[in-house]
């Protein structure tokens, strides 16, 4: 079947920014969402597709619309195709309307290119009704329109000559939730009834989720991930995509939202992965080589040298019995890079046992295996090196030697593991967990600290080893509500800024659902993944509804 749009190695370079060569195609009647943060190159892509770039931009590649190459075409020919074959509705809609012309005059200007004059009034009325505006509005000036109305009118002009393809740039960024939803419904209807294909440029993941069947994720001028929208939302495989989803308030109405961590200072050479520095699973290799967009199976295209988000720690078919009592039966669990996994279950369900096994502190389990980054895990080594596995034990009272000073306790791991820089890392870890790094505090005995402080010191001690996976067993069970909230936020923010993965073991289902990216329930010695969205949801649709 012929494609409606085929883009081959399209690339635009400005002096300060360039959109790297990208290729994709679009079927008739398909909706593609292009998502990414501000400055990721979304609008540049749109300029390339619609051949509306400024002077001095270097453009290369091909854009084929129904088999005809647009980029090499003369502007006169392209003008013939504009509005008839493809149309663009730009961001910030009112700015694209002539403020001194009524809507009728503006619409007429477009329509007269395709319709004889006597059909114009009827066609105009029809268009206004299609986009949900009333024909009376035709007499108004743009300044008299609300943002939503202007957006709808712009869409009306875009579809006036019934093009096969409409490009929408941030169509809903200035709209409220209700207006966004009704605009999305309109786009869906136009797509269904008139089989118009859309390319929607947006940073609103919720809009992309509502409308598109496929999604393209752009970052800094590179395509990071591309695939079916449902698949990507369900299981994002590029760290950046996951970051975008976690940062979306629309997709996480109830849960806490966290942006992707700002770039940590790394020496970033020219040829490196664009996401290097913000990524949670960078290898030295990622700083030297830029990844290609590749198909890593099931039709998902990912630009990552590691093949997308990797699984850091995996327990496979673990069984454990204490005497006759079976505690774990064929339990498999994966902790991927840069995520918070919650392990919940009622008291006594074997959570701590499973955490002990996964952390490598409980060696005598009957069956199963542990893998770290896909290879059989040598837990002894992983405890002693940076980027390994560390655990914060449940009982902070016995997790620290009460006679030691804070500094002795926190610098102990690196001292024993012979990693060096003990004191320096200890102090910075203490500061990270919100404790003072001053001499007087460092020389305090552990037994003089409060429960909450001990818990933080325990966490700081684990952090000094810069773990890739941190297991926290009931870190909040002894704390009062306010300290609990503080500690949960602290853990999540540390996870976000340091980029480690966390397995949070808790009986506190409420807290788990608040901070976890994925959640597992341990029940009757079996493990079951809970879909957090099935349990945490809220309906806010009615708030702004008319």
């Amino acid at each position: 079947m012929n494609k409606l749009l085929e883009v081959k190695n399209l690339s635009l370079s400005y002096p300060e920014f360039s959109l790297h060569p990208l290729s994709f195609s679009l079927d008739y009647g398909e909706i593609l969402a292009v998502v990414g943060e501000s400055g990721s190159g979304k609008t540049t892509l749109l300029k390339g597709l619609s051949c509306l770039w400024e002077e001095g931009v270097k453009v290369s590649g091909q854009v084929l619309l129904e088999g005809r190459e647009l980029l090499g075409m003369k502007e006169e020919q392209r003008r013939q195709l504009r509005m008839r074959s493809f149309a663009v509705a730009f961001q910030n809609s009112t700015a694209w309307l002539n403020p001194s012309m009524t809507l009728r005059e503006q619409l007429k200007e477009v329509l007269h290119r395709g319709y004889p004059a006597r059909e114009l009034p009827g066609r105009m009325r029809e268009l206004m009704e299609t986009v949900g505006l009333s024909p009376e509005d035709l007499g108004r000036y743009p300044r008299e329109l609300s943002g939503g109305m202007a957006q709808r009118f712009l869409l009306a002009t875009a579809i006036a000559l019934e093009p096969r393809l409409v490009l929408l740039d941030e169509p809903t960024s200035s709209l409220d939730v209700a207006a966004r939803d009704s605009f999305a419904a309109l786009v869906k209807r136009l797509n269904r009834e008139k089989s118009i294909a859309f390319v929607i440029i947006t940073h609103d993941m919720k809009l992309a989720a509502m409308l598109s069947s496929r999604m393209m994720v752009l970052y800094n001028g590179h395509v990071e991930e591309m695939g079916s929208t449902a698949g990507i939302l369900d299981y994002p495989r590029h760290p950046y995509t996951r970051g975008l989803i976690n940062a979306s308030t629309g997709l996480n109405i109830v849960r806490d939202v966290w942006g992707i961590r700002p770039e940590v200072e790394v020496d970033k050479p020219h040829h490196s992965c664009p996401f290097y520095g913000r990524c949670t699973q960078s290898l030295p290799l990622c700083g030297r080589e830029a990844p290609e967009l590749k198909d890593w199976g099931d039709g998902r295209l990912i630009a990552c040298l590691r093949g997308g988000i990797i699984t850091l720690l995996e327990g496979r078919e673990i069984s454990k019995a204490y005497g006759r009592q079976q505690v774990l039966e064929n339990v498999s669990i994966k902790v991927r890079s840069g995520e918070v996994v919650a392990l919940v279950g009622r008291s006594g369900s074997g959570k701590t046992t499973l955490a002990g096994i996964l952390g490598g502190y409980l060696r005598d389990f009957q069956e199963g295996s542990l893998l770290f980054q896909g290879e059989a895990a040598d837990m002894e080594q992983l405890h002693r090196r940076e980027g390994g596995v560390q655990m914060v034990f449940q009982d902070s009272e016995t997790a620290l030697n009460p006679h030691m000073t804070v500094l002795q306790a926190v610098s102990e791991p690196r001292l024993l593991a012979k990693l060096g820089r003990e004191e320096e890392t200890a102090v910075s870890a203490l500061v990270d967990v919100g404790l003072p790094g001053e001499e007087s505090f460092l020389n305090k005995r552990i037994k003089t600290l409060s429960g909450g402080q001990k818990q933080r010191v325990s966490i700081a001690r684990a952090l000094t080893m810069e773990p890739a996976v941190l297991l926290a067993d009931e870190p909040t069970s002894m704390l009062d509500p306010s300290s609990k909230a503080n500690l949960l936020r602290l853990l999540k923010s540390l996870q976000n800024s340091h980029g480690f993965s966390m397995l949070l073991v808790t009986h506190d289902l409420e807290s788990a659902l608040k901070v976890a990216d994925r959640c597992f329930l341990l029940k009757d010695s079996r493990l079951e993944e809970l879909r957090i969205s099935d349990y945490v949801s809220s309906s806010i649709d009615s708030v702004f509804a008319d």
């Binding site: 502190y361 002693r384 009982d395 620290l400 102990e412 024993l416």
Partner: protein
Amino acid sequence: MKRICLIALALMLLVLLFAWGVLFYPMDAELPSGGSLEAPSAEHWLGTDNLGIDIFAQISKGFFHSLSIGLATALAAFLIGGVLGVAAGYAGGKTDVLVEFLINLFLSVPQLPIMIVAGAFFGQSSLNIICIIAAFSWAPIAKQVRARTMSLRRSGYLVLARSYGGGLWYLFKTHMSRDIMPLLAISSLAVTGRAIVQESSLAFLGLSDPLAKSWGLMIARCTAFKGIYFTNFWTWWLLPPVLSLVLSTLLLRLLTRALESYWLEKE
């Protein structure tokens, strides 16, 4: 704390008294210095025995004999009980099974008969006595230390320190000694008191070094003296060694108890 000081002070006075008895008391503990069975007087504070040897001089010398045997035994028990207890509690597994078996063995056999047999078998010397008493004193210490080590071993900081690569000596020094040493020291002090009584018992039965001045030997010689209870000789020959035995072991025991409760309170 105040009680500990008081008891320690009493013990110190006892030691000073007997030290004076050995160093400055003019009478000899080995040779006769008066008539047979003289009553206490300014010259012979506690009188003399049937051979005319001064009783106070004998008791003073006996005190240091008993105390040194007690302390040597305690040291041996401290070392054996400490090492085996920590090893069993920390290593677990086969070591633990073996040590626990030994502990139970030594706790369950009747001590005195075995001691008598062993004492008779190995001959009469102070070193043998120390070895025999120590062999029956380490077991309770090891049992306590083992239990303590096991509970420490499971505590988070030890598990973690081990995971970071801490060796056994480091773990003991940094994380266990503070909890185990007081326990060891107190139990060993208790052993000192018991060892003194046991040594006296063995001496009484004639299984100790016959040449050494020992309270048990004095009691044995006194009770063996025909017709001792028909006269009042026993009041200065028998009572002083018995009372010093009771007093010194009582003080040691009280000190142990006071230290124990002080430590428990501090925990």
